[in-house]
């Protein structure tokens, strides 16, 4: 598998603070990965996301030790707009990144700045609007949309630049549950069908657990666990400040008493439960 992000012996301290927000990070992300970066507030997950397109160290200054490379490019030595072709960043609050008068213009914004020709721009904008199914809000102001729609538009404006990696920082924070599930499905589609590598910082696992290929758990600036979902869920994640999905949590508690597998879906759970129920009834 192709390595798309390589972080080596990396530590970072923000200017004006006296502690390192990231400590001794060594990490490889592969093409096509769907990674959840989990951990409590202040664990360093947002900082890690900011490394990927060079927001750190170009925008957020500080003590930068070690190396971060994306598709073989040393991020520190590249301009943020150069990195935008590889990594698209989506933030927690979509209002932080929306600025245009209409949804259509918002999606075209990055293309315009990179000097795309008009017909090429129109083609890409149409493609994105179709992909995200947002034709009905095309001429609306992004600021008058619901949180879920705003987050879609923010993602659209990032996808327009055709990055290879999509990195999102707690994108569900301002969404209601239904919109959150819709967004999770969209991310899954982008990953499975359009082959985007996805990295998402999120402290709730339930929305993404069935889509992710890998969970990385962070605590106090370090990576403490890294593996496929089922393996990571076998640990007591609440100890590390992470809310566990109900189904895996209940499976684990039942495991203490019965021969119960760690389940990720409702279907798996019900099947397992039926077996145990039959055995104990007889």
């Amino acid at each position: 598998m192709k390595e798309v992000i390589v972080i080596k012996n990396f530590s970072f301290r923000y200017e004006g603070t006296n502690f390192f927000s990231l400590k001794d990070i060594n990490l490889k992300i592969f093409e096509g990965d769907f990674v959840i970066l989990a951990g409590p507030s202040g664990c360093g997950k947002t900082t890690l996301i900011r490394l990927l397109n060079g927001l750190i160290p170009h925008f957020y200054k500080g003590e930068y030790k070690g190396e971060v490379s994306v598709y073989g490019l040393i991020v520190k030595d590249r301009k943020t707009y150069e990195m935008a072709k590889y990594v698209g960043l989506v933030f927690q609050d979509p209002e932080d990144q929306l600025l245009s008068m209409t949804v259509e213009k918002e999606i075209a914004f990055g293309l315009e700045n990179l000097g795309y020709k008009k017909d090429e721009m129109v083609r890409i904008v149409n493609e994105i609007i179709k992909l995200l199914n947002i034709e009905h809000i095309r001429y609306k102001s992004p600021f008058l949309l619901s949180g879920g729609e705003q987050q879609k538009v923010a993602i659209g404006s990032v996808l327009a630049l055709k990055p290879k990696i999509l990195a999102l920082d707690e994108p569900f924070s301002n969404l209601d549950l239904k919109s959150s599930y819709n967004l999770a499905e969209l991310l899954n589609y982008l990953n499975k069908n359009l082959k985007y590598t996805i990295i998402i910082a999120e402290h709730r696992l339930d929305l993404l657990i069935n889509y992710a290929s890998r969970i990385i758990v962070m605590n106090e600036g370090r990576i403490i666990l890294d593996g496929p979902p089922r393996e990571i869920l076998s640990y007591n994640l609440e100890e590390f400040g992470i809310m566990e999905p109900k189904i895996s949590k209940i499976s684990k508690l039942l495991r203490k008493k019965y021969n119960f597998d760690i389940c990720l879906t409702l279907e798996e759970f019900v099947n397992n439960f039926k077996k145990i129920y039959e055995i104990n009834r007889n």
Binding site: K178, M243, K246, I250
Partner: protein
């Protein structure tokens, strides 16, 4: 005792044709803990803004402790009804976290010693001591949220209203907030929580009110509501996983008591 009484409440924002709230009738007793649920735009926030008089009814009445909000100022009502809004940026404005939390106390005329004592205890309760002299605007989302909640709880209002309090909180902070609310309930406070987070609602509230298009479409026991798939569908709400599990097991011929609200209760029930 009736603490909040809402009678035939209609509300329309200026320049809007449609009513945002339509014929709301609601009584909340002292000491009750109620969750208000519903899709975006259903009128939840508009409804709670009537409780401290930020909004006054277009038609109908809102009566708090026997007094009509039309005859009271926001300042007077706020002494009884403390509202923590969804977006802390709309609420925070002081230079330091300390000043932010002491703001209401100063305005309500608490003496200096009492202010110091209360602010200190809030900083401790919400794990904000290290930010005492920091600007609240430079904190993270979860930290701002905690400051906003502390700035209301410090003056000890009888009615505490929380609008989407769990947004931006991680597992620890959420757990702390659940414990704080449980303690407030023990003290006899009346709590109203507007939330999308059913699991949170089930931990802190017994009564559920579902709003849709400005109308109450269901008012009853929260534990019953989570099994009412039709109402949840209607209100665009996602059924909590525990209810899904129990319903799915029932379909497979395994009948469990439907009165479980938390994972712990589920395990107890099953292991028995």
């Amino acid at each position: 005792m009736k603490l909040i009484e809402i009678k035939d409440l209609y509300f329309r924002y200026p320049f809007e044709e449609k009513y945002t709230l339509n014929n709301i009738n609601l009584t909340i007793d002292s000491g009750e803990s109620t969750a208000i649920l519903g899709p975006n735009g259903s009128g939840k926030t508009t409804l709670i803004k009537h409780l401290n008089g930020i909004l006054k009814p277009t038609k109908g009445d809102v009566i708090i402790e026997g007094k009509n909000t039309k005859e009271k100022s926001i300042a007077e009502l706020s002494r009884t009804v403390g509202i923590v809004f969804q977006n802390p940026d709309h609420q925070l404005f002081s230079n330091t976290v300390f000043e932010e939390i002491s703001f209401a106390l100063i305005n309500f005329g608490f003496n200096k010693e009492e202010i110091l004592k209360r602010v200190r205890s809030m900083l401790k309760l919400f794990d904000l001591e290290k930010y005492e002299t920091h600007s609240p605007l430079l904190l993270s989302g979860g930290e701002k949220k905690r400051v906003a909640i502390a700035s209301i709880l410090c003056y000890d209002p009888k009615i505490i209203v929380l609008d989407e309090p769990t947004i931006g909180l991680d597992y620890y902070q959420r757990k702390t907030l659940i414990n704080i609310i449980k303690n407030l309930k023990k003290e006899g406070k009346t709590i109203i929580t507007v939330t999308h987070d059913f699991d949170f609602a089930l931990e802190v509230a017994e009564r559920g009110i579902i709003l849709k298009n400005g109308e109450i479409i269901r008012d009853g026991s929260l534990i019953d509501i989570i099994y009412d798939s039709d109402i949840l569908e209607k209100a665009n709400l996602i059924q909590p996983t525990l209810a899904k599990i129990i319903i799915e097991l029932e379909k497979n011929g395994i009948k469990l008591d439907r009165k479980v609200a938390t994972v712990e209760e589920f395990i107890q029930l099953v292991i028995k």
